[in-house]
Amino acid sequence: MPRDTSIKSVLVIGSGPIVIGQACEFDYSGTQACRVLREEGIRVILVNSNPATIMTDPEFADATYIEPITPEVIEKIIAHEKPDAVLATLGGQTALNAAIGLFERGTLAKYGVKLIGADVAAIQRGENRELFRAIVEKIGGESALSIICHTMDEIFTAVKTLNYPVVVRPSFTMGGLGSGIAFDEEELRQIAGAGLRHSPTSEVLLEESIIGWKEYELEVMRDRKDNVVIVCSIENVDPMGVHTGDSITVAPAMTLTDVEYQRLRDLSLRIIREVGVDTGGCNIQFAVNPVDGRIIVIEMNPRVSRSSALASKATGFPIAKIATKLAIGYTLDEIQNDITKVTPASFEPTLDYVVVKMPRFAFEKFADADPRLTTTMKSVGEAMAIGRSFSEALMKALRSLERKEAIFSWPEVRAGEKDQLLSQISVPTEYRLQQVQRAMWAGATIDEVFAACKIDPWYLRQLELINQQAEQIAVPGELTSQILRGAKSNGFSDYQIAKIRGISEDEVRRIRHHLSIRPVYKTVDTCAAEFEAFTPYHYSSYEEESEVRPRTVPAVIILGSGPNRIGQGIEFDYSCVHASFALRAAGYETIMINCNPETVSTDYDTSNRLYFEPLTLEDVLEVIHAETQAGPLLGVITQLGGQTPLGLAAGLKANGVTILGTSPEAINLAEERGAFGNILFEQELTAPEFGMAASQLEAITIATRIGYPVLVRPSFVLGGRGMEIVYDDQSLAGFISRATDITPDHPVLVDRFLDSAIEIDVDALFDGDELFLGGVMEHIEEAGIHSGDSACVLPSMTVSADSLAEIIQATLMIARGVGVRGLINIQFAIADSKLYVLEANPRASRTVPFVSKSTGVPLAKAAARISVGSSIAELRAEGLLPTIGDGVAHGVSVKEAVLPWNRFRRLDGRGVDAVLGPEMRSTGEVMGISPTFGESYAKSQIQAFGPLPKTGTVFISLADKNKVHGVDAAAGLSTLGFKILATQGTAEFLASHGVPSVTVRKNSEGKGPMGERTIVDMINSGDIDLVINTPVGRGTRHDGWAIRTAAVQRSIPIITTTAGFNAAVEGIRFLQSNEVSIKSLQEWLA
């Protein structure tokens, strides 16, 4: 059955910003979809609001709309583009919900557009819990006993039959948002109440608890001839009770017999057929009672999912690519297996290795957040590792997380440690597996540990073997070949062996190399070596035979960025992928090393060779060794994957590796404050004054010298962690006693904080001679908000021509002074018309994709070329860069950060504070592009926080220091017809400036004598359409916190800076008199 030739154009819906539960796996799947469709000669129209994605590069679609993914906007795109079909099963829940919205609005019928992949009825059968239950029952499966509820009363009646603990699952949310396990009435009230609000249909499901059961997931594919295959089985190490996205998972399933596995397979086949997913992939989750094997069907996703990306990387079977081919009419047997080239896709991959996925969390960013893992997903990324044994894969996965705490260690056992750990492991948290390992190291038996945490004894036994291996390493005497081989094949890193032996990592490596103990590289081939593999997708293992083939073309190794985390996500994968494309186009071979299964960079199609390996010095050096033996190697690119590869550059160079692009010495110049200060001094540039304090007294002395407010932070953490802005001696002293363990070894940095300064971000290319300025972005939030969390606009809106010239000149001087070869990102601040240099990062920045989209200049591609020796002049001549001049923004582009407040609750069940600060907390970003700032800002808000209201009631509460800056905006809202509510102080101030408002009670004031409600009550009852609340110091923090968390819980737009407030008023003004316009990137850049 060849493809459906009636489909000549397809609208692909992307997944929007990276949020918890929906990350760059959908860029991977969407990018594959676009590629497949274009290869078939189909016109591709794409909508995705996320500029950091590779799929939104103009070259991946014929018409790329960086627009909000809402049914209203998509309808406009459909009206304009008239596609034959819509493909929504590759863009996560966002795309699926948008498709349902389009169906419900009648858009699909009106324009005669068909939904391919899964139809609306199938989506609803798969996602609506009642319909799905009925299907499970019909096909002979079992669901957990459960009751659907729409009100709190129904919830409390239902729990009488189900008993505590009870699981709460809201309908139609993604990543388990709003779900949880309630152990008593109070918890049920909190969790189910929030669940009702989060569910678009105000529907939650209460369910019998199957906590502690074994959990499995099967990835299923079906074509229109009803051929069905299972691509992968995945087993969760963490038993039921922890969201799959937060669980450590293993592929293939390790603890099922064939009889039991086939039962799951049979159920999966019957479910996908009955639900009616006609073409494409879905995943189905099961719980298995470890005592008697009773199987419960948990749920299905009738679309490509995060697990599909994992399964694709774990097996080499590209689910999204094949799902797209199936959607346009091909059948599985007509599609070739890319890896073997001779066999078809209508088979089930078989693995001769073990895959372990570890979630990566960001609890340190949300200090108040409840650290317990539940059925609401909280992880922000994941790492995957492959080994020829579970322990090898597990230990590699743990070090792929790049967290010291994640790596197993074997310290001396303290008295009482075992019992303490045994009690801790009954509650799943980020480091439970490490606690389990330490409990066993402290002498806990498998039975004891199993009783406490219900992790399958098979996995516990593997941890026990790892501990035994550690004991063997610790035995004094020579590090023999036998010990080292045993350790390495169990996944121990040189670092771990060194720690156990009390010697250096280099020493272990020296001994190991002397004994010729090096990893070999095996191939992920979908078929356990039954057929020859033609795709060099490798992983390391300590075994006999390596499968790395010789090369003749000079190659470049690109280091990826590892697991997604806050501050280092898809933007860096974007740059790495671009580098790979650019270098391949220029005639080099590219070799990617990365361990993030969600990414495009770990697609075996992206580079000539892919090594799925941890990004540690040891693992990278071994790949370099293997590839050096395979053929000519030019060097390694470390400047595109963010801090992770950059951090490896010096170590690689010390081991004789050629670093392409900016040298490690130059990187150090930019990163080391003293050295960088010298460069600024030489170039007559100014940085905000700063000092380093080794005591509280010293800190206060420095602060007095440079003047308050000051930005303080411990010197030994990066990425804005532990940063605070303080306004007086008292709060400075408070910070030091609270936040740091200050010593001469661990000083505190005290920087002058430029209050109300405009912050500027610059991305530029430098080749040693010429500078190419990619873009000058102006932050909307003032300095003090982490640049990653601040909205920004390109071109800058308020920077004068003189300042711009000064910025360009300063950028050139810094790039030259540091010795950049490739990309540099510099943050400036302008205060009182004076330019300050805040910091310089000689690497690809988070904003590179945004600038590239806005200007149409592929900065990362150019950077990769510069790092292998091309000059900007050559790249201009070639057409990769504009012939003359710098990057010019087309239209006005606004980037807005997306924050995960609604994912986290405190231990007491209340929300975490939704306030921006110097520490980055956003998970993703959206872009709005249009002819005006107001419209672009309004567009950016739609996808990031929900649409700005056009009318209604706004609540305003401004901190004293912000009142002056907020008054114009408040007046603007008043003119636009909004009813303004304000707390007393703000109301009085507004009145004094002629802005009318109604005074409302603060939360701390409680209900009034006549029962007047507080602002929090009003937010909770849905009477407020927009909240403006700028935080003050710690004094009234409590009130502000209550207001902000209430707004987040109710999903009401909230703005916490006056600059954001001003921008919002512009956006609202636009929305009141205009409709949001649409225009494809290709048209913008034409």
Binding site: D258, S346, F390, E530, E545
Partner: protein, 371 residues
């Protein structure tokens, strides 16, 4: 744990550690790619005289139970794995795998690069091999012994695995049909699948005659899977020819399929490394649907796949083909009630996609007797 070696006919040696019983064993080295089902593999009589290499790296995780046995005992000549499990985790397990191997005196080998070994067998073909566990022998001595061991081609092995006396597997529920099943190494899942469809299965020794079979007045004849070279099965092929003439419905699986093919006049040949796994795509040419199937065969039938063919028993055609390599996976006669598949619809281990073939057999018998 002591050192053990796997020595191949072509002189390549893999070093590992002893596992299961020690000593030495010989057989044809084959690799099995199933990620589940090691117990079914071990107890499948078709693996008689074969040293099985499991490509899945962890084996033994779920232990050993009596329910999942495909026959009374472990048949493999030797068992090679990467990481045997030292702990069993499964609610149905009754024993751990190594204890079971030792109890049944099976020589195993662990800790070898099974992927390297698999790639070697894939490229060079299945070959004679020996496992030498905890023995003081030189490399040369081991290779010489391997080369003295018997080859699979030309091997007649059915007498080792077939039942000595007939036995009956009763129908579940109402008895609708009686089937005579020639046991050439039958797996217990096959009579079970028939019995679930109301068939009383009379399992007969391999050397049963056509008269023995007809004495049961069967509604159908089933020819089972089994070990060895189909070319050696001259007597059974003759019996099948006689049954074909009697218009009794015939269903053959695996070895049984090769025997039916030879009875029709086709040749069989040895595949380089065979098909042994539970993920094998086969297309049913009659419906053009793909089924994922369980395979275990080193020989295959040479028959035309594109056109109908004519035999002395009338017209026939190839019904099923492997999508991986185009090997004939099934055939039927158009003018007589007989069909066979090269793979394992009874699964165990493996997917249940091809269970419909048992229904097809039952339908064929229904037509025949007019039920």
């Amino acid at each position: 744990m002591s050192t053990a070696f796997l020595v191949l006919d072509d002189g390549r040696v893999f070093e590992g550690q002893s596992w299961g019983s020690t000593g030495k064993t010989f057989g044809e080295a084959v690799f099995q790619t199933g990620m589940t089902g090691y117990q079914e593999t071990l107890t499948d009589p078709s693996y008689h005289k074969q040293v099985v290499v499991m490509t899945a790296p962890h084996i033994g995780n779920t232990g050993f139970n009596t329910q999942d046995n495909e026959s009374e005992k472990i048949w493999v000549a030797g068992f090679v794995v990467r990481n045997p499990s030292s702990l069993v985790s499964n609610w149905r397990s009754e024993n751990d795998l190594e204890s079971e191997l030792i109890a049944q005196n099976i020589v195993g080998l662990q800790g070898v690069d099974t992927r390297a070994l698999t790639r070697h067998l894939r490229d060079r073909g299945a070959m004679r091999v020996g496992i030498f566990s905890d023995l003081e022998m030189t490399r040369e001595e081991m290779v010489v012994e391997v080369r003295k061991s018997s080859q699979m081609s030309g091997s007649f092995l059915v007498s080792d695995v077939s039942t000595k006396t007939p036995y009956v597997v009763p129908a579940k529920g109402e008895k609708k049909f009686v089937v005579a099943a020639l046991d050439l190494g039958i797996k217990s899942a096959t009579p079970r699948a028939l019995s679930e469809r109301g068939v009383e299965v009379h399992v007969l020794p391999f050397d049963s005659t056509a008269e023995d079979i007809c004495a049961l007045s069967p509604d159908g004849l089933f020819i089972s899977n089994g070990p060895g070279d189909p070319a050696t099965m001259i007597q059974v092929i003759e019996v099948v020819r006689q049954i074909l003439l009697k218009q009794i419905p015939i269903f053959g699986i695996c070895f049984g399929h090769q025997i039916l093919g030879r009875a029709l006049g086709f040749e069989t040949y040895k595949l380089t490394f065979g098909h042994r796994g539970i993920n094998q795509p086969v297309i049913d040419k009659l419906t053009s649907k793909v089924e994922i199937t369980s395979h275990n065969h080193g020989f295959a039938l040479a028959a035309p796949t594109e056109t109908e063919f004519t035999t002395v028993y009338g017209r026939g055609e190839v019904t099923h083909v492997s999508l991986n390599d185009g090997v004939v996976e099934g055939l039927h006669l158009i003018d007589r009630p007989a069909f066979s598949v090269q793979y394992h619809p009874e699964a165990a281990a493996g997917p249940h996609d091809a269970q419909y073939l048992f229904d097809r057999f039952v339908d064929m018998m229904s037509l025949k007797v007019g039920k």
